[in-house]
Assembly symmetry: D4
Homo-oligomer: 89 residues x 8
């Protein structure tokens, strides 16, 4: 069963769009969004297991230029909304 | 164009699952996940505009029992991952 | 010279509007807004000096029902935007 | 209807005044203040919609030299203080 | 392979010792310490997998009386100190 | 050699003064101040050693009514200002 | 009446002692301590008024090399401990 | 009696493994782990007393290249889990 995680990013000022374009090029990144708040970008990640997740974060995602800081939230359990039950996330 | 937002929740200890089941019953909630980290639950919301989002958060979502604290991140721009480009989020 | 301060509020879930209506009734509150983010409400305060500010916060503002937590940022220096230079804040 | 937002800034040590002078030169910045606390500067922004806000933040505001980190709080609803009801913010 | 995690706790004022005594009674808790800082207690947890971790946290650990807030950090990779290489953690 | 520590407090809204009056009655509290910011009160503590500090915090200070949350910063090394070198802190 | 404030510092890794030695050379700094926790150093400041405090922070204190980030808590009201009532702070 | 402490690290993006390898080479580091969350690495430290801890942190640990920020939690009291009572930590 794959491990899902959300990653919040702070990036160098003014590089939000560039970072998003780079990270969605990785197979592990399901989608990314520029957000307003304490963090600049959120991305949803899928990895085969915790080892693969650690490997992806430390060897690939965090090496993307202009990524200053990441905060990762591993998903423990998923709940679909009413209108999403026939679709994959 | 609808407004998307992620909401992070801290909930009363031990009520994570119950809160998730309740919030995915709202039309505005696309999906919710129990997460490991500083927050307990994350949900993705879709509202028709900022007014409707404020209304949904203050009148419905934050009134769900056991929700202690929420932190909202409005989405400014979306990027799809390679494997997601044919699917809706 | 009066002391200005911004106060950020976390309020009981679902009471944002009620809290705003109550706090703008105080003379010291210039305006209040419901915000999306880590905090729920922001208000701008004007007090005659630091003593009066401490008094207003501890004796009045923080005693408003449903106010759970406040974080105060005293203003050190003001800069007007180009379109605001003829108006008071 | 325009979108309002507060932006909190951390700036390079000792550049608070310089950053304020630069950001109030943008049409979108209503006013800015140097503050005491976790953040160094707060500014109030007005943009035509969420897209324009994202554009302004990522392309202009966050590119101001010495801006290290921003945290944005989109306004959902406004309340005027008693003494402010005849004036614009 | 078991999943390891650190859990940081804020507990009701004055209940640190009582909470520690209760949580070390669970098989999943390797050890707990009262700490000085933003959090009151830290514990190291071992669970068979992410599902079991989520289950333990939401059904057992977070239901311990006086636990107000937890923040969980899942371990991705372990490194032993020089003097620890012959011992288990 | 005694252990010194600063303790930051969040207290129930409107109880700052009452909490300060109570905590300065303890021998271990050198002084306390109501502050503007994320926390409401700061106090400087002196204890005979780390054990005594833990004991004082968990058995006395955190049991003061209206204290919601504390964050402790143990002092590692002291530096006196020029005008303070002849006085004790 | 002078304005008192506590300033919390994050400094470049390994420069804590050097920063403390530099900041206690300013007349406005009553004392400084290296602390264990989220921040590295705390200092107590006395300035003639809020303007002078803003001036001291932005023009002097935050320009000390190796100071990365400061967080300021202006003091609203002071309470002396039992054993401190005959001494100045 | 030795002083124990947990240190949380933020490190330069992509250097987690390198930092862990370096810090476990110090005698004072019992073990280190790469973690998912707000911080990147956690380490458990043992020092002879608070002075030695301050010395180790400011002169050695925080000087490790790629360490950006540390947050230290001094241990006040330890509790062993049921399965750990015959082993040292």
């Amino acid at each position: 069963m794959p491990v899902l995680a959300y990653v919040l990013f702070k990036v160098n000022s003014g590089t939000e769009r560039e970072v998003c374009q780079k990270i969605v090029a990785f197979d592990e990144v399901l989608h990314a969004e520029i957000i307003f708040g304490e963090f600049d970008v959120i991305a949803k990640i899928s990895a085969s297991d915790l080892d693969a997740l650690e490997d992806f974060l430390s060897q690939k995602l965090r090496n993307v230029p202009s990524v200053v800081l990441t905060s990762t939230m591993v998903v423990g359990r998923e709940y679909r909304g009413k209108n999403q039950r026939l679709k994959s996330t």
